[in-house]
């Protein structure tokens, strides 16, 4: 970030030029110190690890290039399944959580049963560990032998379980966003003649969405790695594939490979979240330098 004024009409004074030169020197110094200390730290860490007695064995069973190459096709296939599950789960969560959040903000005694139901739902699924939801949905519902649903694959039930759990979290985030929009905004919208639904859609939700975007992005990142849990139902995703490869080769490298792939998958979103949060902060603190 540069704070140097861009007033081209007038050349800066001697004093200001001196200050700018000083700032440049300061910046160069800080960068140099950062580079040197990073290199020093990396070298020390590297030699410390290499000199541990077990390093050879660990390297062989966790970081074996051969094992990684062998496991690659299966793990990458599995990851593709994770991505597809993620895709449908995100759509499902968006719909269900928006519905839940809207229902929870409805006023009036008529809606009491709906509100109570939605509140009960969020309490239940926010409290219950995802893995238990996965077991109950993945093994419980097929056990009912419902017509037409009996033959659905494990990843289908995994997606449903993810939607059930994450909708509870996301709806709470959305609700907090909706309630953070000042009542005077609703008042102004209603006084223009906009009805309840239009006020929500045109005035409240757009403002709420802005406020909760960083939190939603975080939930998305969390979900990106939780899709790996569908492997407990037997779906052959990246985690399950790595497990199969590990068992076959007596080598843990496939797990490391799958883990790294998940990190790569999440990285763009993590960066984007950081960037967006920083941008919001800049906007909110416009005009102040502290």
């Amino acid at each position: 970030m540069t704070r140097e004024p861009r007033d081209t009409a007038r050349p800066p004074s001697e004093l200001e030029l001196g200050r700018r030169a000083f700032r440049r020197r300061q910046t160069a110094r800080s960068v140099a110190i950062a580079v040197v200390s990073t290199i020093a730290f990396a070298v020390v860490a590297w030699f410390t690890i290499l000199s541990t007695p077990g390093w050879e064995r660990v390297q062989e069973s966790f970081f074996s290039i051969d094992a990684a190459v062998k496991a690659w096709p299966r793990v990458i296939d599995g990851l593709w399944l994770n991505i597809r599950v993620l895709f449908f789960a995100v759509i499902g969560v968006a719909i269900v959580s928006l519905l839940l959040a809207t229902v929870r903000t409805l006023r009036g005694p008529v809606f009491f049963p709906l509100r109570a139901l939605a509140a009960g739902y969020t309490d239940l699924f926010r409290g219950m560990p995802l893995i238990i939801v996965l077991y109950l949905v993945g093994f419980g519902i097929p056990g009912l032998r419902l017509e037409g649903l009996g033959r659905m694959p494990a990843e289908f039930w995994g997606t449903i379980a993810l939607i059930l759990t994450y909708s509870a979290y996301v709806s709470e985030v959305l609700r907090a966003g909706i309630e953070s929009v000042h009542p005077s905004q609703r008042l102004a919208a209603r006084s223009l003649g906009l009805g309840y639904a239009k006020t929500l859609r045109l005035v409240v939700l757009p403002q709420a969405a802005r406020k909760v975007t960083p939190a939603l992005m975080n939930d998305f990142v969390a979900m990106q790695k939780d899709v790996g849990l569908i492997s407990v139902l037997g779906a052959v995703d990246a985690v399950r594939a790595a497990q199969i490869e590990t068992a076959a080769a007596f080598n843990f490298t496939p797990y490391v490979l799958a883990g790294l792939l998940f990190v790569l998958l999440a990285l763009p979103m993590i960066r984007l979240t950081d960037w967006y949060t920083a941008r919001m902060r800049v906007r909110e603190q416009m005009g102040s330098i502290v």
Partner: protein, 247 residues
Amino acid sequence: MSARETVLQLRDIHKSFGDTPVLRGIDLTVTSHQVVALIGASGSGKSTLLRTINLLEPIDDGQILLRGEDISDPRVKADAVRARIGVVFQAFNLFPHLTVLDNVTLASRHVFRRARAEAEARGMELLEQIGLADKATEYPDRLSGGQQQRTAIARALATDPELLLLDEVTSALDPELVGEVLDAVRQLGESGTTIVMATHEMAFARDVADHVVFLDRGVIEEEGPPAKLFWTPSSPRTREFLARFLA
């Protein structure tokens, strides 16, 4: 000017908050092209009265007639009534996520379902009129208080309301910004908009209003043309109030 017809008629309006009576039998008639100023001490019920007219606050008793139609009837669609009345609040309440022009055109487009081009043409015309055409694409947080309040006035006017309610539109502004907003209101009054406004700006009420209503503890203590009310008030309470303000 066309013949004067009754735009708004209040008949014996009562309103309490809990056990506190705030409006205690208000009767008032507003005719077309009239500018009515509501004055009175803080807490006398001016804002409450404006909110009941716009159906943002239900009344306990009485009748509100808008062009002869009883809008206090619960069967009347409140949204449709509100669309016919423009309101400007003390705190502007512009929508921060919309540009100035989008703020102004929101109701025309989404309540009156006018085409975007048509709504924006009318919106630009209004912004031109209040001197904000060059700010049309800015967001409200980039405007000064006076500019925000003038935007709010344009927003209230965008659907050509039959009645404009202004609630102390200058009291949140720095003194040097008050003038530009009052000028905008003055201009509206001269162009024939029917206005009911609550105000603490006595000099302004005296200059611009055709009819001044002094509200005192929930009743109309005195009303009349500004010259009469400000120079020869008949009620001692009015005299007392004015003395405090004009001192």
